[in-house]
């Protein structure tokens, strides 16, 4: 079976800092996603990438950049961390077929002080 690895698992940053989260998958999936999870708000899509050279904005892309370095990896950058921000960032992947289900990583927990 495959796995999605997110690094780091925990990230503490300072206000205004640029922070980068990484995601690697070995399912050979074409499509990858970044979601943000806040308590009581469910999951919100930040960016996704249908294929290796593609990048699409989600509903919450402001304040973030993303990069699909290769088929197996997808990075997310918080361009300027907001003070007291606390959230979990989840990476997921799927086959390249519309309306497919996702496989998720275990998340990166961010705290900004």
């Amino acid at each position: 079976g495959g796995i999605i690895t997110q690094t780091p698992k925990f990230l503490i940053g300072q206000e205004g800092q640029k922070l980068t989260l990484k995601c690697q998958q070995n399912f050979n999936h074409d499509t990858m996603y970044w979601y943000r999870q806040d308590s009581g708000k469910g999951l919100r899509l930040i960016y996704y990438s249908i294929t290796e050279n593609d990048l699409q904005k989600g509903d919450l892309s402001e304040g973030y950049d993303a990069s699909r370095e290769k088929k197996s990896s997808f990075s997310l950058t918080v361009t300027s961390a907001q003070k007291n921000e606390m959230a979990v960032f989840l990476c997921a992947s799927s086959i390249r077929f519309p309306n497919s289900d996702y496989t998720f990583g275990s998340g990166t927990r961010l705290l900004v002080i």
């Binding site: 499509t31 899509l45 989600g58 519309p98 309306n99």
Partner: protein, 116 residues
């Protein structure tokens, strides 16, 4: 735009009791529907999905869900819960937009607590 509503933020049931977690969606055509479970400090795992056909779909660990077009609902059920079912459950929807949609829209989740 598509949306998903899980009206119950928290549900508590006794071990061995039956369970229903509610999910309603807002979308004019038939959507693709999913239920995911999230255990503490883990990512989401797929429980089951509905694309078409029999409105009752079976998932892992004894879970099932029933699609109702008339009620725009996709409720999750289990006949007898176990303490290990305690987790957060998410309903998700994907709309059919002519073969171009890759996005899932998630509800806010329902925290299930199973008591002894």
């Amino acid at each position: 735009a598509q949306s998903v509503t899980q009206p119950d933020a928290r549900v508590t049931v006794s071990e061995g009791a039956s369970l229903q977690l509610r999910c309603k969606y807002s979308y004019s055509a038939t959507p693709y529907l999913f239920w995911y479970v999230q255990y503490p400090r883990q990512g989401l795992q797929l429980l089951l999905k509905y694309y078409s056909g029999d409105p009752v779909v079976q998932g892992v660990n004894g879970f099932e869900a029933e699609f109702s077009k008339s009620n725009s609902s996709f409720h999750l059920r289990k006949a007898s819960v176990h303490w290990s079912d305690s987790a957060v459950y998410f309903c998700a929807v994907s709309m059919d937009s002519g073969g171009s949609n890759y996005k899932l829209t998630f509800g806010k989740g329902t925290l299930l607590t199973v008591t002894p």
